[in-house]
Symmetry: C2
Subunit: 396 residues, 2 copies
């Protein structure tokens, strides 16, 4: 097990017995999911998606990536919501692993943003991936129009057809027609996966592969998650434990969940999580409000509120056991700041002390909290984390 | 008046009469603030700060900026909390106005982040601004140690002394000693301004001037705010109206305030607002939870929760009347997406339609909302907005 859920800091809020009480409800939800008998069952394609992804498709995607990287200084990914956040959260989490920079468009309609983006393209070669099930969602459709117009000044129609990739519906919709009529290559968004779950469909995998991300490792991690979180028994399934804890805390009036991390590369993973949970649960006058904290910065501000504000929230930390690199704290002859006491130690040692102290202080201050620990900040573990959250929200 | 507060979408939640009922309480708070008789009065230096900033200081800061820009390809700003967010919110809001890129350090202890930062400095010249009242706050102190060690490989002690600027206490603390003993230039953080209010002190102004931002315009805007929001009468003071509305909504069980914008460059302004309000109000088991939405992206996800989730929140939009540039929506001969209906119009026209529709829909769905409109996305209006929020939170 490479992803651990630690529930020690729920003491006084959620007991093992509380979780066992929920066992029948969790098993019912599990069976409804597996048998396709629950609400929204027509959109549960994400459930078995990792194991169904064809390795041939992954190779094709990687090959497309090599081709685009060879002719492009950067990539523009046009999409909104799940078709933006899943891509960005992966790129930012895997800091520096993309072989060419990825810029985003179609997720806002701020003219200054789009103008700055176009200006940054001057003198550079680029390719475009446009993602939309219908092709008529306003923001990406208008961004695509503007970017196509700019491309026409730079590239011939043949060259544009090489550089534009569409990810859209199999048969219908405006973007499907645009792709077919202009000879743009295209990939299919499956019908049975909702936008917020789409990161492991071509919606996420095509732009990620185009940027040079190891999508095979991402999918392998999701496959490990599919196996791990496929177990029905709550005591063997940490995704179900996470879901059940959230349920118990919500019953106790904890209406806000703060996803917190001491690792800055989780910022957009938190945003991805917000869209998944906000859209899935915010219905029928219910739903925990999902919020994000990136520490230590927010510790010096929002930390105050966490410590002494309204007691209407709980917290989930995401920890990384082994960061990808190390920084040794230097000795200083003057030692005016007094930190020679940690000289020679690694920065992450101090970071982990800060996390532990914060988690303990928040519990003591009335904020129950859990911690999800990833072994490493790589594509495999991110794939597993995506699936963990998807499975948990479905049962939640 | 260049900053407007629109309260039309509070219908059914907060009336003019409700605000007038609060008039005596607001006047009491106003007088406590003015007379220095309220709680925390020793930290209200921010109140008269804009008018007290010496224009000579602003010229000195701008001159320092020209000097650093001449010898640096980029700038590293080391600080945390208010000494990070105030700088970053200004730089990002004024997209593209910084003459050299600004990188941040000391706001997290993620080793991969710091290593990536150092790697990006290879082959580039840079200067460092380190901001800390005490010099012993862990995150910036450790980042400063690591960066100094890196600098020693690149620069002589004399050259380092030219490139390191300290912003710290006048007389005491580790960073003051480090500056004095090593001959680093330094600027003073006033004793009577708390960290979260520090953006208009040297904490914010020195790094911003160093990056080439027009700090004179920023301060001029804050001065306009000081005048505008210095009025005691609530019906003449929109900062007090904002504070009073928040109070009324909190009384009605609205425990979350969502700061929302359809302009992506407000993302870090929202983060700055979160630290100001979270730290100021999160005390004694009280405090509205401040959250941020950047639209349209979040509309396709968190929008669901806003529309149909728990009715425990309200929303404040920040609008920009005139963006700094325009994008015309192109006509498309194929018109497969059907958007020729808006061809020839500006993108911001559609953006504003989206905002209006969202604000109306949220009110109808049970989310009362206000809108703060800035005339332009420039330094003057940002300075005014900073002061607006500072004054409002003090009375709130």
């Amino acid at each position: 097990m490479t992803l651990c859920l630690n529930r020690d800091n729920l003491q006084g809020y959620v007991t093992e017995k509380d979780l066992l009480t929920l066992k029948p409800a969790v098993e019912k939800a599990h069976q409804d999911l597996e048998n396709g008998t629950g609400a929204g069952h027509e959109f549960t394609g994400w459930l078995t998606l990792p194991s169904e992804i064809d390795d041939g498709f992954l190779q094709e995607a990687a090959q497309l990536g090599r081709e685009l990287q060879a002719c492009s200084d950067c990539l523009i990914s046009i999409g909104i919501g799940g078709s933006y956040l899943g891509i960005r959260s992966t790129i930012e989490f895997l800091r520096g692993q993309a072989r060419i920079p990825v810029y985003y468009a179609g997720h806002n309609m701020t003219p200054d943003y789009l103008n700055a983006l176009l200006k940054s393209l001057d003198g550079k070669d680029f390719s475009v991936i446009v993602i939309s099930k219908s092709g008529t969602t306003t923001e990406p459709a208008l961004a695509f129009r503007v970017i196509k117009k700019y491309m026409k000044q730079r590239y011939s129609p043949q060259e544009m057809a090489k550089r534009i990739i569409c990810v859209t519906d199999r048969a219908k919709g405006a973007l499907r027609q645009i792709a077919d009529q202009n000879g743009y290559r295209s990939f299919v968004i499956p019908d049975n996966v909702g936008g917020r779950f789409s990161v492991l469909t071509p919606v996420g995998l095509i732009p990620l592969a185009a940027a040079g991300i190891d999508v095979q490792a991402l999918v392998d991690g999701a496959r490990a998650g599919q196996k791990e979180y496929g177990r029905m028994a709550i005591d063997e399934n940490s995704a179900y434990q996470y879901a059940a804890v959230r349920h118990c805390l919500f019953q106790q009036g904890k209406v806000i969940e703060v996803m917190a991390s001491f690792y800055d590369n989780l910022m957009y993973v938190n945003e991805w999580w917000k869209q998944l949970y906000g859209e899935s649960e915010g219905k029928d006058g219910k739903g925990i409000f999902p919020a994000s904290l990136i520490l230590s910065t927010d510790l010096h501000s929002m930390g105050q509120l966490m410590q002494e504000g309204l007691r209407n929230m709980f917290e989930t930390f995401i920890e990384i056991r082994h960061p990808e690199s190390r920084v040794e704290i230097p000795r200083d002859d003057q030692d005016l700041d007094g930190f020679n006491c940690v000289a020679g130690k690694y920065l992450d040692f101090v970071n982990k002390q800060a996390y532990k102290a914060t988690a303990a202080a928040h519990l003591e201050g009335g904020i129950p909290n859990m911690t999800i620990t990833l072994d490493r900040a790589d594509a495999f573990h991110l794939g597993q984390l995506y699936y963990f959250f998807e499975k948990a929200v479905a049962v939640s």
